[in-house]
Symmetry: C2
Subunit: 327 residues, 2 copies
């Protein structure tokens, strides 16, 4: 933790927001653990909800005083890639992570395209839910959409971090008939069941695949959501999917190499990547605003921003699923 | 070429057909070239059209005298995987390649599920077209379907073998607006244009990707059909596809490893594998029977079966796109 200068408007399309809450993402653990190289002190954090303080001269739709949510890539929401629903591959995209959302104030580029305002100032108890929509919920939701989850389908979720748990919630909302959560940790199993999991598989790797086949006529699930990003989790996901089924992968890939021959013979559909959360934000805000979903339950520890280091430690040691930080 | 015993009915679900024509597939060149190990004399060939000679006691829908087409995997067409349209992953599937369709007679397992009869005995000039449906046309068609080709879309086809050329035909039939064929060989370019290609790209690898981006607003094609099966062709396909676009890959993968990070960031959909030709056969037969498509044009050399060795040589040396063998 160190004090930096408050961010200022740099471009006429920027907005400055005062954060109401931020959090530590599972993906923040990669550099914390040294799996991703870090070249010195770096602004951290890419999840944010808060109140607009100031906007640049070209910002038209976002106004000071609004409560807003954005996601980890700023996007113009007008280019042909955004219009196709892939705002995280926006032609003008800019990572928010480099700006540091684990802070009191944040500069958000491309404010009109990036930020979505809530209908009104939310009550305090909704803030964790809205914060979850900024990344983990939107990412789990994209995983479920990429895996073509729908009514009548059997869905497996590989990974029991916040994204995996919220993928269970998404699968339920999208009408899945059966939802198999892979988890070895009891508090996470309980939350998975709360969100709609019908089965828990504690085995991993090939044993986990065998268990999923056991309960899916020997052929695997229709839809598998990958929410880890390792070689093992990707192979578990591909092998747990029936021929013609769909893998939606949203775990940030680290040292993954997919064997072409096995993939070819698997007959699965593969889709995923950095979740275009912006695509889903209006619907997710609606669901939260109407209290139809409670994604904020993944935050099982809240700390003042000054104790961020303790938050990283708690998540690294699996003492917390997800840590909310109060700026 | 050697003389083997005629095949006989082994199971009550078998049929024996007398081949009217067979051919050498691009994938037969992998063992021919030593890329795939061969442990001694092997029956070759998996593409066949012909007249039913005899059926087993449990065959109900296929009758002696019918002219039939089947594909390279026998399938029951009734299991839950077949019903989902993935007959090449049928729970009972059996490769026909091991039985040897480059022959006068062929035993076809699971005849009821595998074989599709034409409306009547075809005239001789339709036989190459019908033979093409047995594999290359059905495979190119699956590639186009897997790549979600459709009206208004820009499609790129990587590979100018018979499957690639017939993927061009499929893309045209499925309503693609623009079809970019990658080919360096003039006779293949001409056939690609005959089948509906609107653009030819002669560059390969990263240069080919750059050319495709040049003509697609800098973002890549909506749909890319991969019809080779090498590391280079897979990466060219992924890199030529816009974020949110679709790669349909049907080239049999050889020593392919897909880098997880690049795939993750590419935002493409990936689907393919051994084409479930059986899914498409009834429609393809209709199109051929009504002379709406002419896939048999890919056969630019016809030889008597006895000269199969010369046929392999001609294809290996690229003197022929596709060799038809007359048993």
């Amino acid at each position: 933790m160190e004090t930096r200068e408050d961010p200022r408007i740099l471009l006429p399309t920027d907005a400055i927001i005062r954060l109401s809450a931020t959090c530590i993402c599972g993906s923040d653990l990669w550099p914390y653990r040294g799996v991703e190289a870090v070249r010195g002190p770096s602004p951290m954090g890419h999840e944010y909800v808060g109140v607009v303080q100031e906007v640049g001269s070209e910002v038209e739709n976002i106004r000071p005083g609004q409560f807003v949510i954005g996601s980890f890539f700023a996007s113009d929401n007008t280019c042909l890639i955004c219009r196709a629903g892939y705002q995280t591959s926006c032609i003008q995209r800019e990572p928010v992570g480099g700006l540091g959302a684990q802070a009191q104030y944040l500069r958000v580029p491309l404010a009109d395209g990036t930020l979505v305002a809530t209908p009104d100032t939310p009550s305090d108890d909704l803030i964790p839910d809205l914060l979850a929509a900024s990344d983990m919920l939107g990412t789990g939701w994209f995983g479920a959409v990429a895996a073509e989850v729908g009514p009548g389908k059997t869905v497996a979720v590989v990974g029991d971090g916040a994204v995996g748990l919220l993928a269970v919630l998404a699968a339920k909302q999208l009408g899945a008939e059966r939802i198999i959560a892979m988890s070895r940790y009891e508090p996470r199993q309980e939350l998975a069941i709360h969100y709609g999991a019908t089965d828990i598989v504690t085995e991993r790797g090939d044993d986990g695949v065998a268990r999923i086949k056991d309960v899916t006529d020997g052929v695997g699930a229709h839809s598998v959501i990958e929410a880890v990003g390792t070689q093992e989790s990707m192979m578990t996901s591909i092998r747990s999917t029936r021929p013609g089924g769909h893998v939606g992968y949203v775990g940030v890939a680290h040292d993954v190499q997919l064997p072409g021959e096995e993939l070819f013979l698997s007959h699965v559909h593969l889709h995923g990547g950095p979740a275009p959360v912006r695509r889903f934000l209006p619907d997710l805000i609606d669901l939260i605003w109407n209290r139809q979903i409670d994604p904020g339950k993944v935050f099982d520890l809240s700390l003042p921003l000054e104790q961020a280091a303790e938050g990283y430690k708690a998540m690294d040691e699996r003492r917390a699923i997800m840590v909310l930080l109060n700026p």
